[in-house]
Symmetry: C2
Amino acid sequence: MPSTAIAKHIKEIPKISTKNDFSVLNEPWTVWNWYKKPDWVHVLGLVFMPIYGFYMAYTSVALQQKTAIFSVLYYFFTGLGITAGYHRLWSHRAYSAGPTLQFILMLASTGAMQGSIRWWCRNHRAHHRYTDTEKDPYGAQKGLMWSHFVWMLLRQDPTTVGWADVSDLKANKLVRFQHDHFLWLAPFMSLGVPTLIAGLGWGDYWGGFIYGGIIRQFVVHHATFCVNSLAHWLGDMPFDDRHTPRDHILTALVTLGEGYHNFHHEFPQDYRNAIKFYQYDPTKWLIAFCAFLGLASDLKRFPTNEITKGQVRMQQQKLDQIKSTLIWGTPIDQLPVYTFEEFQAMATEKGQAVTLIEGIIYDLESFVDEHPGGRSLIRSAIGKDATTSFNGGVYDHSNAARHLLERMRVGVVAGGGYVEHRRSTTSSGAHRLSTVP
Amino acid sequence: MPSTAIAKHIKEIPKISTKNDFSVLNEPWTVWNWYKKPDWVHVLGLVFMPIYGFYMAYTSVALQQKTAIFSVLYYFFTGLGITAGYHRLWSHRAYSAGPTLQFILMLASTGAMQGSIRWWCRNHRAHHRYTDTEKDPYGAQKGLMWSHFVWMLLRQDPTTVGWADVSDLKANKLVRFQHDHFLWLAPFMSLGVPTLIAGLGWGDYWGGFIYGGIIRQFVVHHATFCVNSLAHWLGDMPFDDRHTPRDHILTALVTLGEGYHNFHHEFPQDYRNAIKFYQYDPTKWLIAFCAFLGLASDLKRFPTNEITKGQVRMQQQKLDQIKSTLIWGTPIDQLPVYTFEEFQAMATEKGQAVTLIEGIIYDLESFVDEHPGGRSLIRSAIGKDATTSFNGGVYDHSNAARHLLERMRVGVVAGGGYVEHRRSTTSSGAHRLSTVP
Ligand code: HEM
Ligand code: HEM
Ligand SMILES: [Fe+2]
Ligand SMILES: [Fe+2]
Ligand SMILES: [Fe+2]
Ligand SMILES: [Fe+2]
């Protein structure tokens, strides 16, 4: 690199490092600008801290049984704080929580160290409103790793994130309190509390710090991140396929029930993510239990009628997809029309193996030898109207046999009854029919 | 019972006991006729023999390891003889077997002690042709136990079984040989051979007789019977639901692969019962392996296109069933038609919360407060055409939102564009529209 370029670069530093200048994000990575792209606070919390934690766990802090049990419990406490609090309560207003529950949820979720309620919900509402677009802060279209946590490791230009209304959160005193005191409250709930509990409880300060704090926080982080990555990548789309969200039991297991994400994106105001009782959605169970205790109310459910419509729509779509790959034979109203005499002549004069069933002419040539009912019976139908024998007179044929027939149709007989009637009630059929002498 | 009646009854005995007189079958059970109803040979083989076998096993014949292994192998040998031989080859001609394979299958299946090929296939063909009717020898409509084996414990009037063509079997020398020598060949293959193998092999004559003979035969019997009982009773109907046959993995496990019975009844000439590679159909695997060895050929498969049509038909039927339970709102062509001015007046003069989207008028009254996008945005649509804002101008609503709308429609605006067009192309719509000034 010529020295003038370096000089130019150095000159630019003051401007770039201004807090609100994000132009470096649009530049290619170079030796000179790389350190300006990451969000170093996030890198510290998401990369260096876990490395330190695992290093300590591996080299010097033994895991005690009590600390292990406590860490798992604290994982559920803080994890459910995110799912029932940040996500379903504050982002989606899927239910109402009384002051007690709000306070508990605030403390719990702050211990997950995922930014303030306001920051989180603002991004999340944009994620729902602009799913899979450039305005989605963790748009799945940018890849699995991006949506998992790369989006956070890099600095974020807030103006690129789509607009979302968070006036309700700004008006909420508790949310405001948490936002304003996040800098000390989050480390305290995430690292301080577990250290103190394990320390004062059974003398294991270091264990509480490493396992109950850092490692537990690491696990909760990645569990939450999976909702943005895995849940947009793995599974089915039973409710809608316009966007990437998917339903998968594995994601649900990892994320305390947030894995029914196709449902969730389609019905975000619903306090449930899983609608079947046997699906794993502990967050839903917790909310329902809080409602039972009187701590929560107004649990919103999207009408079952409309949920089912979504499912039916998707299933119909899949079915139509399969149908379009099948051979259905010439559509009836595209078949040539013959008189009954012409039909008979096909068999007698031209020696064609044609039969007539319900007004439609079928060419049995390729099938006579394969007929499960034997050659002679099917031969007896050639040149004749076999409607009655086919429909039970001799043998009531299966739907499979009817389906086989569809491929063999070659014409329609004018005045053939049943089909005749169908044809004359559709405009195109009526038109075609009228051209027959 | 008056003595004259008894006398009358006694007088009748000679007539009733004539081999071809089955009139007693239609009489109610009495102390005087009960012994004439059972088929005593079948009762001996299906009830008394197993009782004797289990009694001996319990009291005096210990199970040796070699005999146990041999009995299981002989179970597969004779069981597959029935499924691949009696059933798929001779009843359904689902493939062609060379003389070697036919001979092996004949010996194997005779060891299952299930009557001659001719007797079995005659009944089975009638079962397929007259499924679930009085002409079906083991019709499932008569109950689980009847179709399992009660039909066999009672004497059978062959004239009540529907007619089925077995001329091919009568013309087959091997089948004829087996039929003519069944009386000694069956006990020899079923009881003699296992006794001799275990006896000459490792000195366990009694074990061979009881475990390899009687008990193994009992197990093969009931496995086969399950095809007629369980397979018409438990499971799904993915291919057709006109009759009772069902698909279930459990039945398949018990019956060497014959549990995909809904498929089988719909496509009886197919050498497969299970069409997916991961489904359990060892009989199919055996036939395919024999074809690989050159012992079998001409393995018949129903065209996949038509198999899929059956599945699609059933799925569509289920979906239509669900659809019919849902509320879809007033059909568009049954809505009253208004002018655009009338629509505006509804909002301005009558104060109704109506909006217009794609030519249809919606009453939002019940929904304004529930709108996830907030009250003010949805209020801004009242009395106006909100097509553009609803479809992305402000927010591109989900299909869930569109489904919700369907319930709220209350009218159509004449000249409303999109729907207008749809209405004028359907005759009823066109008619209705023409009544509008
Ligand atoms: C015209 C086209 C025909 C087709 C595509 C056809 C197809 C079939 C098929 C697929 C079966 C197997 C059982 C089933 O799936 O229902 C069958 C059985 C049979 N067909 Fe046909 N069939 C045709 C015409 C006829 C006619 C005209 C007769 C009689 C006059 C006839 C008599 C029978 C009988 C008696 C069986 C029963 C065989 C048995 O299981 O014993 N078929 N046919
Ligand atoms: C007319 C009947 C309307 C219905 C039934 C309706 C329904 C809904 C529903 C169900 C949602 C949740 C997200 C979704 O499912 O797509 C939603 C969100 C939204 N609606 Fe509507 N809406 C209507 C009209 C409008 C109108 C006229 C506007 C704007 C002028 C509007 C603006 C919005 C916005 C901005 C959101 C996004 C909320 C967010 O997630 O940030 N809606 N609407
Ligand atoms: Fe998402
Ligand atoms: Fe969400
Ligand atoms: Fe059956
Ligand atoms: Fe069969």
